[in-house]
Amino acid sequence: MEYFVIVIGSIFVSNIVLAQFLGICPFVGVSGKLSTSIGMGGAVLFVMTLATIVTWVLQYYLLTPFGLGFMQTIVFILIIAALVQMVEIILKKVSPPLYQALGVFLPLITTNCAVLGVAILTIQKEFSLMEGVVFAISNAIGFTLALVLFAGIREHLDLMEVPKGMRGVPIALLVAGILALAFMGFTGMV
């Protein structure tokens, strides 16, 4: 049941993009096309889960025991940067097709605050490792959901001749705002 709460909570109730404002840059930047949105979502799922596991282990077996809690930010961001590099190298060797699909998005993820954000939140919320993994996966799904919905809408808007002043980022933010309004319907579900 706890896991259920985490899943529904992360995907719908407090969606990482629409309620927590994390990962907005790729949300605005990448979500122009459906195919790239799915690719980005996949890459984020991969890195976010991995990063959460590694940072969790580091936090509880290194930082906390040695009183180095204040090093959290610096350690986590380095871990994520290194992870992205590693994932890129490994993926290239092990699964070229997957690398082809996700490769271009990997460098972007280092500066995707959703990854660092989820890693830190996992610690802040005092999740167990397993809960953290579920939390990371759910948030990645929530991120992908928002991204994919958004990509569909923006591909549609490409054909709609939006007024000049609103074209591009303003209308994207407006859509995000209305989407966030709609997502408020999930309030109180968990």
Partner: protein
């Protein structure tokens, strides 16, 4: 100075140096700020306790299981000299409109609520957040009431509490948190004596 070459030794050395300097600098800042951070935290807690209890000069901390036996609540017994002036209970509810609500509730010895304070909540601004004394007088009605004869339920549910307009859920959550504190407080009183 010419640009350094990207030789392996150079790279490792640079990274190591940068990291070491950073770690040192951070360590320094950490040492300097450690004290103020602890004080800030303590101040916040004390402020909360102060707002729900009469004057005191000393606090003792204890933890007790709530009646459901799931979570322990933190009690802060306050003393003025040797006299116990009351207990502040850090309590919570998960029945909030959008998540947990944390309260501090101060009880006098006989179980009368001296005052309440909201520690954290995620209730809707303009609605549920009126449980905060800064936003509305909702919480004033609990002052000086003894739950023995003041039913900690909203009127709609047959209690004595006037709910916040259009925010029954938040009001109910508030009552639930206070009630949890009260029940634990009562149980503990019996147990301790």
């Amino acid at each position: 100075m010419a640009k350094k070459e990207s030789s392996f030794v150079n790279m490792v050395l640079t990274l190591f140096l940068v990291a070491a300097i950073a770690a040192l600098a951070l360590g320094g800042v950490y040492t300097v700020t450690k004290e103020p951070i602890a004080i800030a935290k303590q101040k916040k807690l004390e402020a909360a306790i102060k707002s729900v209890l009469p004057d005191f000069d000393r606090i003792e901390e204890a933890k007790y299981l709530d009646p459901e036996g799931k979570d322990s609540l933190t009690f802060y017994y306050a003393y003025q000299g040797d006299n116990e002036v009351g207990a502040a209970v850090k309590t919570y509810t998960n029945k909030g409109f959008s998540g947990n609500v944390e309260l501090m509730v101060g009880f006098l010895d006989d179980g009368t609520i001296y005052n309440t304070a909201v520690l954290s909540h995620k209730e809707t601004p303009g609605l549920g957040d009126k449980m905060d004394i800064k936003k509305s007088d909702f919480s004033v009605q609990f002052k000086g009431k003894n739950p023995e004869d003041f039913k900690l339920k909203v009127k709609k549910d047959g209690g004595d509490v006037d709910a916040i307009t259009a925010a029954t859920i938040s009001s109910r959550a508030f009552c639930d948190a206070v009630n949890r504190a009260y029940v634990t407080f009562e149980k503990d009183k019996g147990g301790a004596q």
